[in-house]
């Protein structure tokens, strides 16, 4: 369903956040020292975290280092997952033998949530950023893998026939038909994976590391600095949104041909 033409989409998208903000503001208006900080207080804290106010509490100016630490783990873990899951997904999708060999194992491991892996990872890899990064890798792994397999397995059969009658050999089907057909699925997987990475990072940074947005939020909670907690949440939301936009931009360019993705 299309909404009425003429309303700018940006404006429309702003309606709901604005309403939430108003609700928040209204609910905390009379309680400047309540459990939930006021929007103005959070904004103030956000600016202080970014080092723009020159305050000097233990959180002042720490946002960038934490954001950088989290970003490194998010993108490091994401890349690692992509490097493993993409070729594996192509292989599982294309080669029956590999599919028969790995499918059962992968399906068994899939329902185990990242949080359940965390204690084991801490024992295996110790306290530190390795563990956080590997948890992110695990979180990205399945969305990328499953969507890649799906993309490879769901090539329109007619396209194989068309390619064959135009002279494409069996060996050349993979690069000529399978890979381009699977690209939308691959991009869906990458997008879901990166989105997941920002979810997992907070879990990964709750214990064992001293930097990162997750660590910052955990520290702030322990000293009851709810304003820092919320400012940290907003930062994660923004970072996730921006990295998603980056993938969207790439997929719009590469999938211009697809009515669902391009333009």
């Amino acid at each position: 369903m299309e909404t009425r033409a003429g309303t700018p989409p940006g404006l429309l998208a702003a309606v709901f956040p604005a309403a939430l903000l108003a609700l928040w503001w209204g609910a905390t208006r009379d309680a400047p020292d309540g459990l939930i900080p006021q929007p103005g207080q959070v904004l103030h804290e956000f600016l202080d975290l970014a080092g723009l106010l020159g305050n000097n509490d233990s959180f002042s100016g720490t946002l960038w280092a934490n954001l950088l630490a989290s970003s490194e783990r998010v993108f490091g873990g994401f890349l690692l997952a992509a490097v493993v899951a993409l070729p594996l997904g192509l292989l599982i999708g294309q080669v029956l033998l590999v599919r028969r060999m790995l499918d059962g194992t992968l399906q068994l491991l899939r329902p185990v949530p990242v949080t359940a892996w965390q204690p084991l990872f801490l024992i295996l890899f110790g306290l530190g950023s390795h563990t956080a990064l590997l948890l992110v890798t695990l979180g990205c792994f399945y969305p990328i893998l499953l969507n890649t397999v799906f993309g490879v397995r769901n090539v329109e059969p007619r396209l194989f026939e068309a390619a064959a009658m135009l002279g494409v050999s069996r060996a050349a089907m993979f690069p000529k038909v399978v890979l381009p057909s699977a690209l939308p699925g691959i991009f869906t997987g990458l997008r879901l994976g990166l989105g997941f990475a920002w979810v997992v990072i907070v879990v990964g940074e709750i214990s064992g590391v001293s930097t990162g947005l997750g660590a910052m939020i955990t520290d702030a909670r322990e000293v009851s600095r709810t304003d820092v907690v919320i400012a940290g949440m907003v930062t994660i939301g923004l970072a996730g949104f921006l990295s998603d936009q980056a993938i969207l931009l790439a997929s719009r360019r590469l999938l211009r041909w697809s009515p669902q993705h391009g333009g």
């Binding site: 026939e161 068309a162 064959a164 041909w257």
Partner: protein, 267 residues
């Protein structure tokens, strides 16, 4: 009448030299739920070089199956298909197929779709480019050369599908109800365009349709098939000069004859 025309055509074929396509005693059975489906029984067909043959028949009589056997997408249960005297073992560029649902590569532009076969066969870049350019010109899609399939109308997509097999040097073009999904006006225009392409090249066309009028308009010879099991029941040469007038008396006579062959004689 069918037997006589069959004889006449056999003679005509003999005079024209060896046929480019031969279907010899082909049976085709498919495994199906609750047994087997006999899609084709004892089908014999020869197509001369440069001939335009239409296959016509009720739904389910095996027209698509026959075309797909010739295309090499299916293998006969018995008998064989020969192209230039050699058995067909799989799909190949000398037998271009035009599908009703186009089968264009959605990630390639019109130009790249037309170039696809030439590139796949490793033709030199310069040849690929000039050939594609020529066919884009012929099908009148110069303005859409860089458009993607989803941006084209059905008629435009079918033009591209035809161009890509012709650009790829297909000697025989197999078309399975290629204009069935198009509106009447677009269909008529594409019929004209196909005829002029066919008459300006040495092309052999095998064209499946279930529209009697389309068959008479296009074909040198109409092959009539019947279902249960699918087999050829008549071959009717069309000896009308082109361009054919669909409201002329001989056209209508032929239409009546074919309708009788397809549905039994009118009461």
């Amino acid at each position: 009448m069918a037997a006589e025309t069959l004889m006449a055509d056999r003679r005509q074929l003999a005079a024209a030299g060896s046929p480019v396509l031969q279907v010899q005693a082909v049976h085709k059975r498919f495994a199906a739920a609750g047994g087997e489906v006999e899609a084709l029984r004892a089908v014999d067909l020869a197509v001369a070089r440069g001939e335009f043959v239409c296959l016509i028949g009720a739904s389910g009589c095996g027209k698509s199956t026959l075309l797909r056997l010739i295309g090499g997408f299916e293998t006969p249960s018995e008998g064989q298909v020969l192209m230039d005297g050699r058995p067909v073992t799989g799909p190949g560029p000398e037998r271009g197929m035009v599908f009703q649902d186009y089968g264009l590569f959605p990630w390639l532009s019109v130009r790249r779709n037309i170039e696809f076969g030439l590139v796949a066969r490793g033709r030199p870049r310069a040849e690929v480019r000039t050939t594609a350019e020529r066919f884009i010109e012929i099908i009148g899609l110069a303005r859409f050369a860089d458009a993607y399939p989803h941006q084209l109308s059905g008629g435009m997509k079918q033009r591209v599908a035809i161009a890509r097999v012709l650009a790829n040097d297909a000697a025989v073009v197999l078309m399975d109800e290629p204009f069935g999904a198009l509106d009447a006006m677009t269909r008529e225009r594409l019929q004209d365009e196909l005829l002029s392409l066919w008459s300006s090249t040495g092309l052999t066309v095998l064209f499946v349709t279930h529209a009697i009028e389309e068959a008479i308009l296009l074909a040198d010879r109409i092959v009539v098939m019947s279902p249960g099991p699918g087999r050829i029941t008549a071959e009717v040469p069309v000896r009308l000069a082109r361009p054919r007038d669909v409201v002329s008396v001989p056209f209508n006579d032929l239409r009546r004859d074919l309708a009788a062959l397809l549905h039994g004689p009118a009461p």
